[in-house]
Symmetry: D3
Subunit: 132 residues, 6 copies
């Protein structure tokens, strides 16, 4: 369970309800998920995070699905149970096929493997990589 | 510096040289980078990792650049200095523009932020996310 | 569930019971929590950790609540489910208000965000920061 | 070195210069540090992060030094070299004494120790911690 | 629950069944565990991981139990709930006694403590450690 | 560089010198390494860590080399540059051969790979693993 109460729409302040309504409308869902209901205990944070999500996850130079794939990979590396679940669902909602998911898993597996090897070997950065 | 000697082509065993030559040919480079020169101290691991890289990083259900973007994000989350450098370079070699890099950074920033919040709040996974 | 049996007071060795009794007395609780019941499988570790907790978490140059706030933040970064729960409870027991918790979450969110950006950008340390 | 060019004030766009000038004025420094010069490659991110820093790191329900102590602890857990350096310096600028730093290190040491033990033992969360 | 369906032997493709049968035979178990049933959604990954497990976890220059102890320690550091459970069980199956487990926990506790201190202090690597 | 001054024997307090002398004598070295010189800024922590190292790293139910191998693996997972260097050197001093190092790297690579996969798939813990 969360370390804070989950705040339902019925029990939320007007400011929080406004954010919930925006989420529900934009995502076409009947209720917001537990992340938002938990974050509502910190209303300023709730507003900022929702604003950032709306802005950052839009298709742009990278398409929306690519962004969710990155999100899954980071969430797994950070061992965030909730985020892996919610963003895998989001990726599927944005069109991720099982075959794409399998390829993502292969990249995640390889990246974590080579990260661990590079950290274990303390590989020095080559000069050609150092020109930022 | 590495915790192992960096093994140059001239000092490598035939098996290691074979891997180096394959890397150089496939990537069109004059010399392999320090990750491979370090990993050459574990020749079986060198062969397996190179084989996996060749196979996994090919364009497939996901394109090659998308895979490098995921790789950068995982490497940053794992705080792998070498890997962030080498895969940012690889992503640029595969066409990543500064605008795409900026958007990737925005997703990385947001994902790490919400991962930390979800972990701090211990958000319970919603039922609709639990049907695997 | 734990990877070891949870050892109750009734089933504990005299040495372990001594630690349990000290914890119960100092904290004014009827029973020790699951962390101690798990750690009791390694009695030397149980004694050392309890001793360190008693010593380190005392108010000193930093007050007791500040120390719990740091503890929550570290536990979230390390994705330790148990520790986030237990130390959020401890912080509340030491006076943390919901408003303080919200501010802590804001710092945690910001720190994880900028850590991820700095790791992704591989920012070189400025000279003025290098004089230890 | 960074994976992006460091952008000096002289070479910055007007929008970026505006952020730099604000940082310099608020912090009373002659030049911005390398984190900002790196982040300037993603101007929207630069503006958002600076805005968030200004807002979050203000003294409020928690004082400014407490916030920096949390920031150091998170940065160490995330193995962010740059951030540990810059926020240790910031904490000193906000009055952190060597004795306070030593106490912070003691809490960091203890927290990482018990996080690792709890993760190794997979301690189940006690019922009394589950009422959020 | 998993983010993918768990694939039972009865519902598996011939290729997946072949891997399952090999696991069951080599490990002397009636059914494969949930890790394999989850990974079966990415059949190529399933084959590669099983092949690597068979090869790497064999006794060699290091004995089989030592390898499981390392595996537990890494899994705890990566906060992988599943892996800590499965590899603690595997270590016990390979002869790990409670006394050995307690000593492993002591090393894990110490290592995470000093890692955190070294990261907080940003200790520079001594010259004598730099000759790889 | 460190975020604290490195304290040499000549400039150390009597209490710190006592620890330095014990380290030098037990390890047969002419000078202590930078970790101890950094930690000396927190003298109580220096004494406790040295005491714990002396006690925990002794051969016991696990031999001394096994403990160093675990230490390397944890340090790599925690991306602790200093610790990977110092403990790889320590392992070599305790007899680790290049062939053993290569096998350790293979286990590290595999463990980080499967940890990442298990975290990405959110594999549910099997009942047979839940009896602690």
């Amino acid at each position: 369970m969360a370390t804070v109460p989950l705040i339902d729409h019925a029990n939320a302040s007007p400011a929080v309800r406004a954010v919930y309504d925006d989420i529900k409308q934009l995502r076409g869902v009947a209720d917001v998920n537990n992340f938002w209901k938990s974050l509502a205990n910190a209303p300023a944070q709730l507003e900022q995070v929702w604003s950032e999500v709306k802005s950052v996850m839009q298709p742009g130079e990278l398409d929306a699905l690519t962004k969710e794939l990155v999100y899954i990979a980071v969430s797994a590396a950070n061992s965030c149970t909730y985020c892996v679940h919610s963003h895998t669902a989001a990726a599927r909602a944005k069109g991720m096929t099982p075959a794409q998911h399998a390829e993502l898993l292969a990249v995640i597996a390889l990246a974590n493997r080579t990260n661990a090897l590079a950290n274990s070997l303390q590989v020095p950065v080559d000069p050609q990589f150092q020109a930022g």
